[in-house]
Assembly symmetry: C2
Homo-oligomer: 620 residues x 2
Amino acid sequence: MPPKITTELLRQLRQAMGNLKYTAEPIQAYIVPSVDAHQSEYIAPCDCRREFISGFNGSAGTAIITEHHAAMWTDGRYFLQAAQQMDSNWTLMKMGLKETPSQEDWLINVLPDSSKVGVDPWILPSDQWETMSKALSSAGHTLVPIKENLIDIIWEDKPARPTLPLMTLGLAYTGMSWMDKITALRSKMAERKISWIVVTALDEVAWLFNLRGADVEYNPVFFSYAIIGMSSIRLFINGERITDAAVKDHLQLEVPTKSEYTVQIHEYESILTELQSICANLGPKEKIWICDKASFALTEAIPKLHRCLVPYTPICLFKAVKNATEIQGMRNAHIKDAVALCELFSWLEKEIPKSNVTEISAAEKANELRSQQEDFVDLSFPTISSVGPNGAIIHYRPLPETNRTLTLNEIYLLDSGAQFKDGTTDVTRTMHFGNPSPFEKECFTYVLKGHIAVSAAVFPNGTKGHLLDSFARSALWESGLDYLHGTGHGVGCFLNVHEGPCGISYKTFADEPLEAGMILSDEPGYYEDGKFGIRIENIVLVVSTKPKYNYRNRGSLTFEPITLVPIQTKMINAEMLTEKERTWLNDYHQKCREVVGAELERQGRHEALRWLIRETQPIA
Amino acid sequence: MPPKITTELLRQLRQAMGNLKYTAEPIQAYIVPSVDAHQSEYIAPCDCRREFISGFNGSAGTAIITEHHAAMWTDGRYFLQAAQQMDSNWTLMKMGLKETPSQEDWLINVLPDSSKVGVDPWILPSDQWETMSKALSSAGHTLVPIKENLIDIIWEDKPARPTLPLMTLGLAYTGMSWMDKITALRSKMAERKISWIVVTALDEVAWLFNLRGADVEYNPVFFSYAIIGMSSIRLFINGERITDAAVKDHLQLEVPTKSEYTVQIHEYESILTELQSICANLGPKEKIWICDKASFALTEAIPKLHRCLVPYTPICLFKAVKNATEIQGMRNAHIKDAVALCELFSWLEKEIPKSNVTEISAAEKANELRSQQEDFVDLSFPTISSVGPNGAIIHYRPLPETNRTLTLNEIYLLDSGAQFKDGTTDVTRTMHFGNPSPFEKECFTYVLKGHIAVSAAVFPNGTKGHLLDSFARSALWESGLDYLHGTGHGVGCFLNVHEGPCGISYKTFADEPLEAGMILSDEPGYYEDGKFGIRIENIVLVVSTKPKYNYRNRGSLTFEPITLVPIQTKMINAEMLTEKERTWLNDYHQKCREVVGAELERQGRHEALRWLIRETQPIA
């Protein structure tokens, strides 16, 4: 693909930057972030503004356009792709390299004195606004909100914002009615003397109302906002979907008597004016909760005296601790997922020797097998199906031009997952279908030791996930190896595969303490550039455990694997495992065999069952 | 001791709070922090203002006085002591308990509308000023700086600020002249385009000029500030000590030709006016470095456009990485320290059965033995000498009323250290002179496993210390145990025994990455309330190591123990140790025997030598 020619688009954009119809004074720079108004990980085509103006379509990147420059900041995953997709109007700013200036430093360097830098206040989160604004004003410039998005103005055939039908989820899936969730939220608000909460994250709205959508890829969410008060509920959402009988019934929109559970439906775009009118009528001591990652536009609408910024909303915290129904759903989803993967791996074993399976066709086969399972909805993220050197590219996604054939000589890494109506899955297995080298086995075993060290860790109630990260690396570190990504992320229940506020990483300190019922991934890896990638990922549930003692009655936690897919023993150098690690692995495989075996039997998938039984033999 | 009667003092203070001689408008509250203008850990008697006004003399506490209230915030270590030392004018605010309001919340609750809250801007660090000021103004109040300290006004017999003689350190101790340090600092300033740096931490001034003092207990520092520019050096210091011939010579005060190394001596109190005059003459792009823990008074004097706040100054970072001479000095100091402790422990073995050794007399004996060693200057912190239940009080310091006798039945914990001219020591050993119970041995062995896990850890260059903290806890966690303090702190070289910017703790995220040459403590523990305390503390040096691989050429680090005192094998349940742990312990003991044994031999301390040889027998 040749790069996108952006000369004319940039000319139009620069014209708009000086057009007093859109801005009180001409602006000397315009920032185009890559997110939507909800800080979503996956965005709809109508929100791909940075891609539209530059041609670069990677998942992360920020464009800044000045009168004479157009620059794109992106990270190491995308240096090559961005360079190929952008024309010579653009300068690539390689983030993470020492010589690359930050956006602030670059702006301060290129801008004339007392410049105005514009940005759409809807797509810049308020915490980022603060940082950028501070840096610019320390150098005499000003960050200004531009109400109309200047990209939208020049984007002629911009797609419409999707308004796809909603799915209602009953108690069998959610374990808690949306009214009970509102009640719990209000009691938390009362406890903290909060009058209102503005809900801006799409998965929080979806969770709160037990609704799902399909407005963006992979995440079953829908464009919306909500404002919840102690006696009022406002849902901001567009489209006919809200007139659907099941949705009307679910939200009790036609119940004639008004109560504190009456949902008022508003247009998606009216959130700001509604919020302003709420703010205009606040008592002197009333407070409004809003997440510090909400857009500057909404945050700014709440006067400082009434604004209570939180790094995580109480909805985010509630959502992270799964109830019994959700946990059962997640278990079911992972059994179905394991059925699909056992079938895939047993099929691959037969097909690879024929040299007719590629990264793309293997991913398609995985997708097909998953879709045969009950309550399958979609994938939960783009499948990473990678052979040999492609496995060393951590966020690899097979494309026709990079597509490799699976062979008996190279390691195959598959990181994939699905959305089922009862749960979300995400699993990585690394396999060799021939004879792995001693070095490959050595590295795999280090990664496995790290995986087990986290999974089997016992730690006090209230420990933050980042304190467990080094357990995953210790065996690699001992031999001078490491991996440059975090070890785990929170996982939603038929929601986003990546969710806060918990995680296991060396990078953050702001994660919330772990508690029983939280669900995370455990996914250490090792990547040998140009050769192979190894990652072993299970989804794990935080559970209470009772060790010998109970210091200060704090209680202890550990993890229980929810993912039940064999870990290839052929890749293991068993001599490197301790007795405890061997026992963990054999117990895990026994559970895979019992639980997934029963389901394979039930579904009559006998070949996959034979594969499972063979792959779960205990190691000595 | 009865509580201090503060009725009259509080009356006088409240009068001063309304006296327009000291404040433009009357203030409704006055905050009395417990620190000095340099945020020192140990303070001089003239800075003990919080103790003067309240009677409470613990190391941590903040007093706030309003028209009708006097409240004292302190932490769990001091609840009992504060309650005993304060009269009924005071309300004790127990920090860490859920029901205890923060200072901000309490003020907002008790103050009349639009109140002024006063504080001495010299003793509130600017980062704390920001937090407090923000909270108060969100509730309509104002934090105001009160130039004259109101406690000093009512403190009739206030001691003078000490100006004790200085000690100059030559190259044999420092390894680097102060001029070379200034040159290195200026090159870092040039690299970051910084024109000036304001040095406010006492240990940073002492390190920079290769001078030591004795103005506060335990830390060999002297009251001073410094301002370093690209071609000027200003040292703010009082007293005749600067006219001492050795000091004049060391600082080259009488060299007639002026150069960029000419030190201008100013009065300690003139720092603010000098800084203001520097700021008045700055070019538009000039920047001044100052630590964000510096006083609000000094920070505020630098206009925002010129102010460059840093969590750690480059001096702090330089100081943390010890040079070859400093490392050699630290090694020497620890050998001398080990000699004293071997002698102490062998003496204790003989004396304890006679029931005539107490916590206090054992501490005195340790002090006496240390002071016999060459270049001994002082202790490096108050000795923690604790028997049985007193050992469970983490910051215990024996007092006549708590003093216990050492016996054959209870665990003895000794945490002590000294300032030698060549280095600073800090070591904890936990001993049983009779027969420890299986539970005591079990706990000791968990702590030892944690100690070894940190000490023997291999990790990539640039890893932050907080990522190693969980290694120290893993064995305890596995059995449901833990300890509620950090695992390690940076240690100065003949400087403060606690220094930044590195450390090993779950509590912080802002520590700087570890690099070879840094020196820290490794001190996990376990405390059984009312029964015993266990802590095993070595000082360790960060060193390069070469494991099998070298991922991305980052290089690897590990620790080398500098402390060489036997770890009592009688307290170990050897069956709980892995092969690797046993080898670590036996290797460590062999090194203790060789290195300290040679010095005991040289000093003719034969009884201690026999003790050392017996205590360093390998375990099977």
